[in-house]
């Protein structure tokens, strides 16, 4: 009988504990984010974000180059910030700037009255030290500073950059990675890299580190920095909470019950369910994550420009967008909307008749010789998978047999870079996005002559295009309107030469509580929410 007695006691204990838990449960249910309280903390003061992956992969502002950007941009600031709505660079830690006509010498006026989270006042000397450290470490996106020859700080509020060649330094200084200004003396005499790696920060941003619990569900908490130069007179969120929620359905449930304020990513179907929900708002913004199909311009049937144009005209883009259910939108040119240099009315268009006649010119097409093409894409990306399938079925109508292969990114990339030309694919599907708000990123990386290839995976080489893009980038430093025109003309040339097909640009589909005011998606800073700029409201 003793055994039964013990079991009974255990059952009773668990039942009592669960009952007690269930009782608290009802009181602890967080409410919809409207001025109610939960356990004494006004819900309104906390802005909780739901992300699909781990946030803080790196802590070093010099070489952080991952998901951490979303938190870094709230703890750290850059000299300038790009506004994708106005397509202009705006002041942040720099109040104004000028450059010489050649764009090789830039002078930034540094904001005074800025305090680091370490308590030290920021001066021009700190700006110089930060960027120099980033350049020395030379990891992550540090290459953006490669035009810089030297940095001087003649007084406390002036920083002068001397460049090796002309470059738009105001744009570079607004980069989402590698452009943070931080207290290089934060660790005292100790090793600063180690100090950061242990989970510390030394920025000037509106929010400072509260707690970090790696691997935990609530991974990171930031709190308002009382001495922030922007001040706290207006209504702002006081705490920023980062939750890791890998499952979209779970994230949706958390948003619905008001336990998170903002969700990074839902699938289009789930996102759609929030559009008519009275407690939430949704936004849909074109991102700068462009999906390109790089066509092999040197080997195989696509080496002929007419075949490339035929392939471009043989894809049903509208049907594709429908299948993607709002997760993406058609892309005109290669530069996405919101970035200067974007060109209107240069969408690839579906014209099967044109495709057929182009193919017939070279002996292919329906009734002609069958064509075999190999297409590679990143395995596990369901959007790319869908695109590959649609391209395959569209081109089958043109007597083109596409063999599509889903691969790990690294394997796909190695194959594309293979020294053996016959190894390489015909169509390479991949995403490109810039590291700062400059259309040059697409041109220099994807379309500039490159041997051996690194990211120019259409193996495109056109001396005229090379020269024109270099001139345009030089012009960007002194005359942005002229540079815009030049980049737009270049896209026209690329459209005709067809080394790549602009398949689409991803859409950021966000859902958030109705009480979140002033939310704007800035594609220059992917998945970053500038929490200080938001207005907490009463639902």
């Amino acid at each position: 009988m003793r055994r039964f007695g013990t079991v009974k006691a255990l059952v009773a204990l668990v039942v009592v504990a669960l009952a007690a838990a269930a009782c608290t449960g009802t009181t602890a249910t967080p409410s919809g984010g409207g001025g109610t309280t939960s356990g004494g903390t006004p819900v309104d003061t906390n802005f909780t974000m739901s992300f699909t992956g781990e946030i803080m992969v790196g802590w070093d502002p010099s070489d952080s180059y991952s998901n951490d950007v979303t938190a870094m941009q709230n703890m750290y600031e850059t000299l300038t910030r790009y506004n994708s709505e106005t397509q202009q660079v705006e002041p942040l830690l720099a109040t104004s700037w000028t450059s010489n006509d050649a764009g090789t010498e830039w002078t930034f006026d540094i904001r005074s009255g800025v305090t680091f989270h370490t308590g030290r006042a920021m001066t021009a000397e700190d700006v110089k030290a930060s960027i120099e450290r980033t350049m020395d470490i030379n990891g992550g996106a540090a290459y953006i500073w490669s035009p810089v020859k030297s940095i001087d700080a003649p007084d406390d509020t002036t920083v002068v950059f001397t460049l090796k060649y002309s470059a738009p330094l105001d744009l570079i200084a607004s980069a989402d990675y590698a452009a943070y200004i931080f207290d290089t003396q934060a660790a005292g005499g100790a090793d600063l890299a180690k100090w950061f790696a242990d989970g510390a920060e030394a920025g000037t941003g509106a929010y400072t580190l509260d707690s970090w619990d790696q691997g935990a569900e609530v991974e990171l908490r930031l709190k308002a920095f009382p001495e922030y130069w922007g001040g706290w007179d207006a209504t702002h969120y006081q705490n920023v909470i980062y939750r890791v929620v890998p499952e979209a359905t779970t994230a949706a449930q958390l948003l619905r019950s008001g336990q998170v304020s903002w969700v990074e990513r839902l699938n289009p179907q789930l996102w759609g369910t929030f559009q008519n929900d009275p407690t939430t708002t949704t936004t849909s913004t074109a991102s700068w994550q462009t999906l390109l199909a790089m066509l092999n311009t040197t080997d195989g049937p696509l080496a002929d420009a007419r075949v490339r144009q035929a392939v471009m005209a043989g894809i049903d883009y509208d049907g594709m967008m429908q299948a993607l259910q709002g997760g993406a939108q058609k892309l005109s040119g290669v530069i996405p909307p919101g970035l200067w240099g974007h060109v209107d009315d240069l969408y690839p268009t579906y014209d099967p008749e044109k495709a057929k006649s182009l193919l017939q010119e070279v002996g292919y097409g329906p009734g002609g010789q069958a064509m075999d093409l190999e297409l590679t894409f990143v395995q596990g990306d369901s959007d790319e998978q869908l695109v590959a399938t649609l391209i395959k079925s569209n081109l089958a109508d043109l007597n083109i047999n596409v063999q599509s292969r889903g691969m790990q990114w690294t394997a796909q990339w190695s194959k594309a870079k293979s020294a053996n030309v016959a190894e390489r694919q015909d169509i390479f599907l991949f995403y490109w996005w810039p590291d700062y708000a400059d259309p040059y990123s697409w041109f220099i990386n994807l379309f500039h002559t490159e041997d051996p290839p690194f990211f120019n995976l259409s193996y495109y080489s056109n001396a005229d295009v090379d020269t024109r893009m270099e001139q345009a980038e030089q012009m960007a430093a002194s005359d942005r309107a002229q540079a815009t025109q030049m980049f737009q003309d270049l896209q026209q040339t690329l459209y005709t030469d067809a080394p790549s097909i602009s398949v689409y640009t991803q859409t950021y589909q966000r859902a958030m509580l109705k009480s979140v005011g002033g939310y704007v998606d800035n594609p220059a800073y992917p998945n970053c929410v500038f929490v200080y700029d938001l207005t907490p409201g009463v639902a």
Binding site: M1, R3, F4, L10, V11, V14, A17, L18, A20, A21, A22, C23, T24, G25, T26, A28, T29, P30, S38, G39, G40, T41, V43, N46, T48, E54, V57, S66, A141, Y143, S211, Q214, G215, A216, E217, V218, R221, N239, I241, V244, V245, P246, E247, T249, T250, Q253, R256, S257, Q259, G380, M407, Q408, W409, T410, A411, W413, S414, D435, F454, F455
Partner: protein, 338 residues
């Protein structure tokens, strides 16, 4: 006894080594470049070369395995490619959450599985037996992610009885901060007397634990039933019955104890199985355990992390079995270790 344990440990080392070699080779044979995963999508060639040298990826695979073992012996399980941290640290951070979940699930499974098995055996081939047997088959065959989603829908969205995800209400960190010792909120809250977090944590663990418990519950129920029926046919039970003892005491006194032995044997296997099975459940309930870590490791082709997780599970399996074998001798004098 000591000799037996030593021999079993030696066998265990061989098993674990085999598992590691297999995982290592499979992870390395898959095309892909861990250095590119480490450096991010836009790394330069120089960066890639430097990282490859630093991670020892330029050495041939057998050499990498040897140096990996040399490290494992010294407690160095390599550095994870996707977190840039030592694998051992990553595992120690995440394993407690998984273990907490599985332990709670095992308690659920035992608390409900043993009585259900007894019930089933007591009324063999009658209505209670059919109901329990159906329940057990249902619990074992139910896909865990499906069960998880259904429970969320019913008990969170419709009834609001239990929370949808997480370990405890994150707002409590502002009002009643939890001091962490074991990384298991239920345990930490209990030892620090933080009743707010304790209640919230218990409330949060119920749904995921029920899902994880489904499979062990089914196995234990069937095992108890079969084992009790077996014992009921033995001579000593027939004698006890002939002497006129009540059915109740026949079951409680003379049948259950010998019948529990095979149940305990299966427990270790079910525990380790549940640990791996909980991966999917963890991601649905946002439970910060090994599951999400394993998934991210596979996606990043992170060999050290994949091998680390595998090694961890293999060790749990092996130790679990050993502990059960030893425990059985303590419970049943008829079993001898040899």
């Amino acid at each position: 006894m000591t000799l037996y344990v030593l021999r079993r440990l030696a066998q265990a080392v061989l098993v674990v080594a085999g598992v590691v070699i297999l995982t290592f080779v499979v992870a390395r044979v898959v095309p892909g470049d861990p250095a590119a995963s480490w450096a991010g999508p836009k790394a330069s060639q120089e960066e890639l070369d430097a990282i490859r040298a630093r991670l020892g990826l330029d050495a041939p695979v057998p050499e990498q395995i040897v140096s990996y073992f040399a490290g494992v012996v010294k407690g160095d399980w390599g550095v994870a490619v996707h977190t840039h941290r030592p694998v051992m640290e990553d595992l120690l951070d995440r394993a407690p959450a998984s273990i907490e979940l599985v332990v709670v699930a095992m308690i659920f499974a035992l608390l409900f599985g043993i009585p259900c098995g007894l019930l089933s055996a007591r009324w063999n081939r009658r209505l209670p037996d059919s109901v329990v047997r159906f329940g057990a088959v249902f619990a074992v065959s139910m896909p865990s992610f499906w069960l998880a989603l259904i429970l969320q829908l019913v008990f969170f969205q419709k009834l609001r009885w239990f929370p949808v995800a997480g370990q405890y209400d994150p707002n409590l960190d502002y009002t009643h901060p939890l001091v962490q010792y074991t990384q298991m909120p239920i345990v930490d809250a209990l030892i620090t007397g933080n009743w707010w977090v304790f209640r919230s944590a218990l409330w949060h663990v119920v749904l995921p634990a029920v899902v994880v418990a489904a499979y062990p519950f089914g196995v234990i129920t069937r095992m108890v039933r079969a084992s009790v029926l077996d014992t009921l046919g033995e001579d000593h039970v027939r004698m006890v019955r002939a002497l006129g003892f009540s059915e109740r005491s026949v079951f409680a006194k003379w049948t259950l104890k010998p019948a529990l032995n095979p149940v305990i044997a299966v427990l270790a296997l079910v525990f380790a199985y549940s640990l791996a099975n909980s991966f999917l459940v963890e991601s649905i309930f946002n439970w910060p355990g090994l599951g999400a870590y394993a998934a991210a490791s596979v996606a990043a082709l992170d060999t050290p992390a994949i091998v680390g997780v595998t090694l961890f599970i293999a060790i749990v399996y092996v130790i679990g079995n050993l502990v059960v074998d030893i425990a059985q001798t303590a419970l049943d004098p008829r079993i001898k270790l040899s």
